[in-house]
């Protein structure tokens, strides 16, 4: 089966972000960018399905400015076969991304579509569910195990109380949770090979989608800082402080 994976380029998870002085957003110039960690897990899952013979072709899709090409290259180096880059400098919110993905999916007709459960920049946790809704497909969100057969996929989901397993009719949308797998590092030969794999570039209007944002960001601020605490010298000191100062025990 054909598998399509959405990969977003985000500020690397190790970067300590800075809010811009004019409160319009977060500083992203000269900051290390990487593939959203949940999307690495998505690509890894697709590659494993291909290694098992379940997946026939893997398409990696990213949307955003020119830099998103790099993220697609990473996906190709990990084992995706080809890339699609929806090129735009405009802000894309989850509903717009879902609509653009739907337009691509209508054309490519994959049986399985994998997204991350959440992008670690906007922390929205929406796009996969929205895409499933627009397609009229079932959704296996927060997946920690995915077992596809010819017509269905059994998906184990990480839920608040523990784990839940559902059976979805294919085609379906999956969103990855952290424990689905551990993504591989691309080997040097595979990085070289990835340079020759094709990436198609499209503009949002060519897909017939109006990607205008629905939410206006009025301002972005730093959260209130906790005032710095103290070191206690031992357990007796700690218990005393918790009882008499913080009054929490």
């Amino acid at each position: 089966m054909k598998v399509l994976v959405a990969v977003k380029r985000v500020v690397d998870f190790n970067v300590k972000i800075r809010v811009k002085a004019d409160k319009t957003g977060v500083e992203t110039a000269n900051v290390k960018m990487s593939m959203n960690p949940f999307d690495e897990i998505g690509i890894e899952e697709a590659v494993r399905l291909k290694e098992k013979g379940t997946a026939s072709e893997i398409i990696a899709v990213s949307m955003g400015p020119q830099g998103a090409q790099e993220t697609i290259r990473t996906a190709l180096a990990m084992g995706a076969d080809r890339g699609i880059h929806v090129l735009t400098d405009a802000e894309l919110q989850p509903l717009a991304v879902a609509k653009l993905l739907k337009a691509i999916i209508d054309k490519e007709k994959p049986r399985l579509v994998i997204l991350g459960k959440q992008a670690i920049d906007d922390d929205c946790n929406q796009t996969g569910q929205m895409l499933a809704a627009l397609l009229g497909w079932p959704q296996g969100t927060f997946a920690s195990k995915v077992t596809p057969t010819a017509d269905t996929a059994e998906v184990t989901r990480e839920v608040d109380g523990g784990l839940e397993t559902v059976e979805l009719k294919l085609p379906a949308v999956i969103t990855t949770d952290l424990r689905l797998n551990e993504p591989r590092y691309a080997s040097l030969p595979n990085i070289m090979k990835a340079k020759k794999k094709p990436i198609e570039q499209i503009a949002p209007d060519a897909l017939g989608v109006d990607p205008a944002p629905r939410l206006v960001t009025l301002k972005v601020e730093e959260p209130p800082k906790r005032k710095s605490g103290v070191k206690v010298k031992d357990v007796v000191d700690l218990v005393d402080k918790l009882k008499n100062e913080a009054k929490v025990i």
Binding site: A133, T141, G162, L163, R214, R226
Partner: protein
């Protein structure tokens, strides 16, 4: 304004997360209705009717709603949503699962995990693991929202006398099937609503060693949580994870033991009232957010601390 809240429940009982969503709805203002969709969910509906400030309880009792499958729930919520200006769900795994599906079907954006209401169309939400707060304004006709439960006080569970109405009996969309669940059983308070949380990290070394934390938690009447590293290592189940991609907690007292304090972990607990960190590395970043830091070996400190606290009950 009219607000519809999608209740979190297990048919027999209404989950406290629902009360926090009602708390957020009161900040928005207007009439509040609660949707209880389930199978044999009369007890949950009756509890919803008693919540202070709630005007109506809409009940959809159908086998297709026995488990909160988004494919079955979303069409029902969409059908009802037309009569409301806001649709809210707590930002639990089931709320996060269904609400974006509803939003897309309504062709509106979703405002995820709001932590404050500025006005009926303007909300504050954390981004970048809570390292920034964005104030966003929605231009959509219906506002689809998930609510960070720790950011809003719970509405009173008693005192209301809402009308219970039956709505469409629902259907099975035929796209998905519930197969099974493995829920962690615990006598302890629930992580997201506990007054005290004791969390362990990679420093615990093994699942066996979590017994040390449980002994401490027993003395404090606390819930037990964990870092991602501890969950990944298999020390404890996934639903113990606190952080950006796990559970968000804000207890009166949070004790982090053998946890370094990565931003993704801090995202889940830095709004706790009092934070205690126990770590053998005095440079560990967790000490930067801790009100009280104790540098030491947890295998020595934790049993000492447990012994210093009175037995409960």
């Amino acid at each position: 304004m009219t607000v519809l809240i999608v209740a979190e429940h297990d048919n027999a009982t209404l989950k406290p997360a629902t009360l926090h969503a009602v708390g957020a709805a009161t900040k928005i203002g207007g009439d509040i209705a609660i949707l209880v969709a389930g199978s044999g969910c009369k007890p949950a509906a009756e509890q919803a009717a008693k919540i202070a400030g709630v005007a109506r309880v809409l009940v959809a009792d159908h086998a297709g709603f026995a488990h909160p499958l988004a494919e079955n729930l979303a069409p029902l919520i969409v059908k009802l949503a037309g009569g409301f200006s806001h649709v809210l769900a707590p930002a639990t795994t089931s709320g996060k699962n269904v609400m974006p599906r509803v939003a897309a079907l309504l062709d509106v954006g979703q405002i995820s995990e709001i932590v404050a209401v500025e006005s009926p169309d303007t909300f504050v939400r954390p981004i970048y693991a809570g390292n920034a707060l964005a104030t966003v304004q929605s231009k959509d006709k219906i506002k689809a929202i998930t609510v960070r439960t720790t950011a809003f006080a719970a509405a009173a569970a008693e005192g209301g006398t809402a009308k219970i109405e039956t709505v469409a009996d629902g259907a099975d969309a035929g796209l998905s099937k519930f197969v099974r669940q493995e829920l962690s059983k615990s006598e302890r308070p629930e992580l997201t609503s506990a007054r005290v949380v004791v969390s362990g990290g990679r420093g615990m070394g093994s699942g066996e060693n979590f017994k040390l934390l449980e002994a401490l938690a027993d003395r404090l009447g606390a819930a037990v949580g964990a870092s991602r590293a501890a969950v990944d290592a298999g020390f404890v189940p996934n639903d113990y994870q606190v952080g950006q991609t796990g559970k968000i907690v804000a207890p009166d007292l949070y004790i982090a033991i053998g946890i370094s304090g990565a931003i993704q972990h801090l995202a889940g607990m830095k709004d706790s009232k009092t934070i205690v960190a126990i770590n053998k590395d005095e440079e560990a970043p967790i000490f930067q957010v801790a009100d009280y830091g104790l540098v030491g070996d947890l295998f020595k400190v934790v049993p000492e601390l447990t012994a210093a606290l009175p037995k409960k009950g």
